[in-house]
Structure formats: C-alpha cells, structure tokens
C-alpha cells in the first residue's frame, strides 16, 4: 500500500498562508525548532515521544516491529525494545482485547489496526456480510448473536459498568482510513460513523502532519479510550513544518481554518484539502466560505460550529463515507436544533455514494471539489 501511494495518489497541495488560509496548523510557537515532515513521520515522532515520556506505554499490532506497512512505527522496537513494541498475531479482536487488558492495569496501550477496513472483528462480527450465528438445538433455530465486541461492549463501557472502579482510558487505537486512489472495498473505508454512535469512546481524525502529532499525543494521554483514524492518503503526500518538541492539541475543540461570511463548511481529515480547493474556487465567484476542521468527532465541538452557522446562516458538511447514516447527519440534526431560525438554506451534505467503496469508479464515488462547489453555490443561491 505504501508504494501504491507514491505512484497513484492525487497530489496534495497544502496551501500556504495566502488567501487567509490556515490549512496548516499554527499551534506551535514560531521560536520552537520545526522540521518538514510528512504524516507518517509526524505520527512516528508522536509515538517516540509517547514511549519516551511514559515507561508504561506500549505500541503493538500487526507488522509494527519492522516499522509497519506505512512506516509509522519505524525505529520504535529498536529504541524501546521488543517487550514494549511488538508484532501481534493476526487478530484484531485479540489486539484490542489485549490492549484493553493492558490499559485496565494502568498502562498506555497504543494499538495499531493495519487498515480501518479490518477493525470490525474488534468491533462486532455482525457488521460483516454474515452475522454471527448460533444454532439453538432445542428449537432448531439460528439465532443472530448480538454484539460480541471489544471496542463497543468492552472498551466503551469499562469505566461505566464498573462504577469507575476500573477503566481502560490508556487505550488508543490507531488505524489508517480513507481513499487512496486504488484501495477498493477493503483499503479505502471511512468507518468513523459506526464509532461515533458509541458513548464512552472518543473519535479523533487529524488533517495534517502537525495536527496529527499533537492530536495523537493528546489522544494517547487522554484518560478515555480513543479511536484515532489517520488519512492514509496523506501519509506521504502531506508535508508540513512540524515542531520537534512534545506538544498536544486539545481534543473536542474544532478549529476555524478559514474565515468567511456566506457559508460554513465542516469536515475532517483528508477531505478538508478538497473542501479548501472548493472554497478557493468559490471565492473567485464572490462567495466567502468559512471552513472548520472538526478534529474530534466524538465528543464534537458543537459550539464552534453553532457560532459559525449563526454568523453565515448556511452549512455544508462533506465526508468520504457514504451519505446515508454518515456523521454529517448528526451534525446536520444538531445544527438544525440550535440554529433553525438563523438558517437561510437546508443543510447540505456532499459525501460518498451509498455503495461499497468501488475501485474503477472511485473518481465518481468521491465527494469531489466540483461537487462541493456546486453545493456551495446552490446553498448560497437557495
């Protein structure tokens, strides 16, 4: 997959400071030493720092020992030893379950799921094509078994069910997600919506290398289990000045990365790049767009989005995941409740189609810049 990126990915243009764009994170102060890093290197740095600063922290998952299929774990095993950084057997439910156990004993477990597309055994077998079946011999019936999952039924409820006697807050699950150009059904998925429906966990998605390092350190150190989705498309393609020191970006705080007056756009991860391009094009047509990076989807920063929509009167949400039941629906419903009288137009969602993620049809499936631009215009002209 990693070499795939080099050949086939769309080029990412990370805009500079012109046009009032703050696509690049500005969280560190300028006097600190910075280094130009891509996304996987920034994540690698965060992991080095996490293991360095907490001797009771661990990094494990499939193939992490040699650096991982996306190079995010390079150098960790050599530096911190195989007792703390190790390969696991090929078993997502085992990886997460083991991580919960470690975390419950007060350690920090930073586990890697190789592709978000494979996270479901750790979530629930029912989410696949075939449900988990049990055969009831007394009634000769197949019973569809309910949830039997580490993340939903275990990690998310660990603290709550025990009356706060136990918790697995030290658990962080990292997984590459999202389109990559040729990933097809099983190397392109955006499963964030499933996890946003689970009280007890947090869901975080960074948009760039600098953001990723700070958000990952926050996630690792947050006293709640966090699912951290990394836009794989950006692993090599996004390059940014990243401060070398230990810094954290707060969770559950959205950021207005571009100011505007006519319409609010909300997104996360790699999709923000596409939305940014749409905003630039819209500006040429006299439409002033405000762009917000949600960063944390659960619990999400409603106040920032609400304040923006009360200013602009219009909202557009964009995500790669299929539109039906996507997280855009939650944002839309919430903003409708809070900003009904301020809205000039219906909330627009520009998202993936309601199909499995297709290979050759990917360019048609995706929420492209022009789809977003069209939606901006029709919302503004409503």
């Amino acid at each position: 997959m990693a070499s795939l990126l080099g050949r086939f990915c769309r080029k990412l243009v990370v805009p500079g400071s012109a046009h009032g764009s703050r696509m690049i994170s500005t969280t560190a102060c300028d006097s600190e030493a910075v280094k130009s890093l891509n996304l996987y290197s920034a994540i690698n740095q965060a992991l080095h720092i996490a293991l360095e600063t907490d001797p009771r922290s661990y990094v494990f998952g499939e193939d992490v020992g040699f650096g991982g299929v996306f190079r995010c774990t390079t150098g960790l095993a050599e530096r911190f030893g195989k007792n703390r950084v190790f390969n696991t057997p090929l078993c997502e439910q085992g990886i997460v379950g083991f991580g919960i156990g470690l975390a419950a004993m007060g350690n920090r477990a930073v586990v890697e799921i190789q592709f978000a597309d494979y996270i479901y055994p750790a979530f629930d077998q029912v989410k696949r094509v075939f449900p988990t079946l049990e055969f009831d011999f007394s009634t000769a019936e197949f019973l569809i078994r309910g949830f039997n999952s580490q993340i939903v039924n275990e990690a998310a409820k660990f603290r709550y069910r025990s009356g706060n006697q136990f918790n697995c807050g030290g658990l962080t699950i990292r997984a590459p997600y999202g389109a990559v150009g040729h990933g097809g059904h099983y190397h392109s998925q955006s499963p964030e919506a499933f996890f946003c429906h689970v009280p007890g966990i947090k869901v975080v998605i960074p948009r760039s290398p600098r953001e990723a390092k700070g958000l990952l350190l926050s996630s690792i150190r947050d006293p709640n289990p966090v699912v951290f989705f990394e836009p794989k498309w950006l692993y090599r393609q996004a390059v940014e000045e990243v401060p070398e020191h230990d810094y954290m970006i707060p969770l559950s705080q959205a950021e207005v990365i571009r100011e505007g007056n006519d319409i609010t756009l909300v997104g996360w991860g790699a999709q923000l790049t596409v939305m940014e391009q749409a905003c630039l094009d819209a500006e040429k047509e006299g439409i002033s767009c405000e762009l917000i990076d949600l960063k944390t989807l659960l619990p999400w920063d409603k106040e920032t989005v609400e304040a923006s929509v009360k200013k602009t009167g219009r909202l557009l949400i964009s995500h790669e995941a299929p539109v039906t039941g996507g997280f855009g629906a939650e944002i839309s419903a919430t903003i409708l409740e809070r900003c009904f009288l301020k809205l000039e137009a219906p909330v627009s969602r520009v998202c993936g189609l309601d199909t499995p993620f297709p290979l050759v049809f990917e360019p048609f499936y995706m929420p492209t810049k022009n789809k977003i631009l069209d939606a901006i215009k029709s919302t503004v002209n409503y």
Binding site: L4, N87, P89, Y118
Partner: protein, 504 residues
C-alpha cells in the same frame, strides 16, 4: 466415485514404479494407518475398489503386530502417536494418554458422568504438556531430487494428469511473473504472487472435483487456473475492464467465478472459514457429492474466524476441507510471532477434526492428501484439516519489500533449492513425460499469450457507469436511483472532472 481423472482417461490403477511389498516405514506410521483405516472402513473399501489403492493399502507387512482397538478407543484417540505415550518420571507432567491403558486401582477404572459424556478419572495429577516430544511429521512422497521415496503411500497420477499439473504450475509461474511486472510498469494497480506455492495451488485443485466449492483467501489463483479460468479472464479482472465478472469494483487479484465454483476473493483475512462451514453444510443438506474447500495462511489461523470456522464445521458435521498454507510469513510477521503450537495441524484435534501435515512443496503428496481428505469429507460428512508446509518466496504483495525483514539468502534458498516446480519437473522428466523442448515451448507460448492478454485487457472498454450502482442490493433502491441520476447529470455537465471511457 470412479477413478477417472477429469481429462476423461482412467488413471493407472497400479503405480508406474512398482512398490515393494513392505511399504510400512515403521511401527508408528503403521499404527497411524491402521487406526485410520480401521476407523474408516467404508472409506477403505471404497478406496480399494475405486481408486485402485489395493496395490498400496493392502500390501502391509503382516508380520508386524496389528493392534486391536475397539471403536470406542479409536474414536477418542484417532491419530495418536503411541511413541509419545510415555511418562516423565520426575515431574507430574504426562504426555498424551496411552492408547490402551487400564489403571490398577478400582476407583480409576470407574467413569464419571459429565455433560460431555463419560470420562475416566485418575488420582494422579497430570498436566498434558504444552507440546509433544516430537513434532507431527510431514507427509511427503517426492524427495528433493524428484524421486519417489521408497515405501511411500500415494495415489498414482497418470502421465496425462502429471503433465497437465506440471504445465499449470509453470503457467502460474509465468503468469505471476508477468502480472507482477505489469504492476511495476504501472499498468495495473496491484498484484500479489503465489511464488513458491505452485504445488499447493495446482495439486490441490487437481485433487478436487469441479463441483467442490472453493473459498480462497487470496494466494490461490492456481486453483481457478486449473478449473479453466483463462489468462484473458485473469487479465480482465486485474484491469477492471468491461469483461471483468467483478465489474471493476475490486482491486486486482480479487477473482471470482460462480461458473467455476470459486467464491470471489475478499481482502479481509479468514472471513471465508465460517462461510466454508456454511457452504459445506448446504452441500450436505442437498446431498451433493461435493464438499467445500477453503484456504488460509498461517497468519489467518490467528483470527477468531479460524476458531469459528473449524468449530462450526465440526459441530455441524459439514464436509469441509480446510487447507492451511503455512508459508512462514504473514507480511513481516514470522510464524514464531504467530503461535506457540506445533504449527496448525495440532489444532485440528482441539476441534475434533482429523488433520494431516503435508510437504506443501511436494505436488504428489499434496495431491494424495487433498484427494484423500476430500473423499473423507464427502463420504463421512466431516471436516478435515490439512497443513501444507511451504515458503512464501515472493513479497507479500507489490506493496511490500520483504528484504526489509528477512534475509535475501533465505529467500534465495527456498527459491532455488526448495522449488516445488523444479522438484515435480524432475519427476515428470524422469518418467519420460516432459522434455526441455516442451519446457521452452510452454514458457514462451504462455508468456506470449499473457502479454497479448494484457494488451487486450488494457484496451478493452471500461465498465459502464451504471455498474457503480448495481448489485448493492438485488434491486436498485430509491436513494441509489436518485444518486445515479444526479451523478449522470454531473458527468454530462462537467466531463473534464472525470476519467473518460465510462459510458453513461
């Protein structure tokens, strides 16, 4: 079933090389066989009649003692190697229980009644050791020089079958090489090879019937090749063109063909195993003379679905043959990081499943083992587990560089000295069935055919856009109809935004 290979000729019912009368290697393997045959009486008689195994099976050394076991004892101790039935004197740890052992104490001779049935009890506290004193041996027929090991059990293979097997193994090699290069040239987006595992691919396929339903992992295109999938069909899937049966929806190598009873490949690991149990059960209910056959790698046996698949197949008494390609590596994870058992073969018994370990690089051994397993599965309506030992010579895929985590020497050793194709070739050649001239003709014509197939596939029309929306459900739902209308309007309005060739 009759012994007719698929080409329509009868196989020779006597092995080409006459076997010596005493083919029993030693007492332990004899006991293995005796137990198995005694248990599988029906199988034995049908094998004798139909597969001409009489030459092999009957010729036992009758001077060796034949233990007499009751069915009860056999059913609880199938395939136990009596050589492991000894006690460590200094510790309380005991190896597997003795086959026929009666304790002196009267208490110990009684049985306890528990939900799972009656079980004898003992006053001695003994732990079953974590491993046997000896690893389960690997069944092989051909030595590294392509000679049949004397006293081997194996099912004879005719010249026609052997030549076809060899040709297909060589074709698979050429196919892998050329498609891999095509990916490197940027003509296809992805590829993964089966280099080093050609014997497993082809010999297993040769041992099955076309009605057996195959659920692959992803490193078994040779099974589909054997069944008649053409090089053009492989190329079409890799290019995702209009002729691809998968309609361009999945990455390359995700082949599937209902016509060939080969379920479509999906990337997630081991999900096919519980599905195979269901398929096997369906065949059983339909009383078909067929079984499910499913493949998994060593890494995949760590997935929860491995447990689910084997357990369901056993409990439901489904005719399933589980074939594990233990090739030593799961991407960069060596098997020493995957499990602590003696490989996968020992796990079968944990589920009540009959198992065998076979040299996966020995085409004749694989053929015999799969053929036998298949017969057992169908006639006895039970699952069988085969662990085929091999080595993944290639990288995991075109997205991997395995020299990053293993020695180049190791790869080279397996590529050259332990090459399954060369090994089988020697046997075929020694029989006078294959020449170097045949070799160069085959390789050059296959290569040419593949290059043509790739060129044609590349130029082929693309899938129509409507296929993006079809088959999500059996019938397109309203939201999909709306999205299709919207997309078509958009493409017509802004065609420059989209790749060309996708007809609306």
């Amino acid at each position: 079933m009759t012994c007719q290979v698929r080409q329509g000729t009868t196989c020779t019912c006597r092995p080409s090389n006459p076997l010596p009368t005493n083919i029993v290697k030693d007492t332990t393997s004899f006991l293995h066989m005796a137990m198995w045959f005694a248990r599988s009486r029906n199988l034995v008689s049908s094998l004798r009649q139909n597969l001409g195994l009489s030459a092999i099976l009957i010729k036992r050394n009758h001077s060796s003692p034949r233990p007499v076991f009751t069915n009860y004892e056999l059913s609880s101790k199938v395939f136990l190697d009596p050589s492991t039935s000894f006690r460590h004197e200094s510790t309380a740890v005991e190896s597997q229980p003795d086959l026929v052992q009666q304790s002196d104490h009267e208490d110990d001779a009684q049985e306890l009644d528990f939900p799972g049935g009656k079980v004898g009890y003992t006053s001695e506290m003994k732990f079953i050791p974590e491993s046997s004193s000896r690893r389960i041996p690997c069944y092989r027929v051909l030595n590294e020089h392509g000679k049949i090991i004397s006293d081997s059990d194996f099912i004879p293979v005719s010249e026609k079958l052997a030549v076809r097997m060899y040709e297909q193994m060589a074709t698979l090699q050429v196919m892998d090489h050329i498609f891999y290069e095509a990916q490197r040239q940027g003509r296809i987006s992805f590829y993964l090879t089966s280099v080093g595992e050609e014997a497993i691919n082809i010999a297993s396929a040769a041992a099955l019937s076309p009605e057996d339903v195959v659920l692959p992992q992803y490193r078994e295109p040779g099974v589909l090749l054997w069944r008649g999938f053409t090089l053009e069909e492989f190329a079409n899937q890799c290019f995702g063109n209009k002729a691809d049966y998968g309609k361009g929806r999945q990455m390359p190598i995700h082949y599937g063909s209902n016509q060939h009873n080969y379920f479509t490949v999906s990337s997630p690991i081991a999900t096919q195993l519980p599905q195979a149990a269901g398929v096997g059960y369906a065949l059983k209910m339909e009383k078909k003379n067929a079984c499910a056959v499913t493949f998994i790698g060593d890494g995949g046996t760590s997935e929860g679905d491995f447990h689910a698949g084997l357990n369901f197949a056993a409990v439901m008494e489904a005719p399933v043959v589980f074939i594990c390609r233990n090739n030593g590596w799961a991407i960069s994870t060596h098997i020493s990081e995957q499990f602590r058992s003696d490989g996968i073969v020992v796990k079968g018994q944990a589920y009540g499943i009959r198992s065998i370990r076979v040299d996966g690089n020995d085409a004749l051994a694989v053929y015999s083992a799969v053929r036998s397993a298949r017969e057992m599965a169908v006639t006895e309506q039970r699952p069988v587990l085969i662990e085929a030992m091999t080595y993944r010579v290639g990288h995991h895929s075109t997205s991997d560089d395995s020299t990053k985590y293993r020695e180049a020497d190791e790869i080279q050793y397996w590529k050259m000295s332990r090459n399954p194709v060369n090994r089988f070739k020697k046997w075929v050649q020694d029989n006078g069935w294959w020449s170097e001239e045949d070799e160069s003709k085959l390789r050059s014509s296959t290569r040419k055919q593949l290059l043509q197939a790739i060129q044609a596939a590349e130029k082929w029309e693309k899938q129509p856009l409507t296929e993006l929306f079809n088959d999500v459900y059996d019938v397109k739902t309203k939201n999909l109809e709306e999205q299709e209308v919207g997309l078509k309007a958009l493409v017509e309005k802004q065609p420059q935004d989209y790749p060309t060739g996708f007809h609306i």
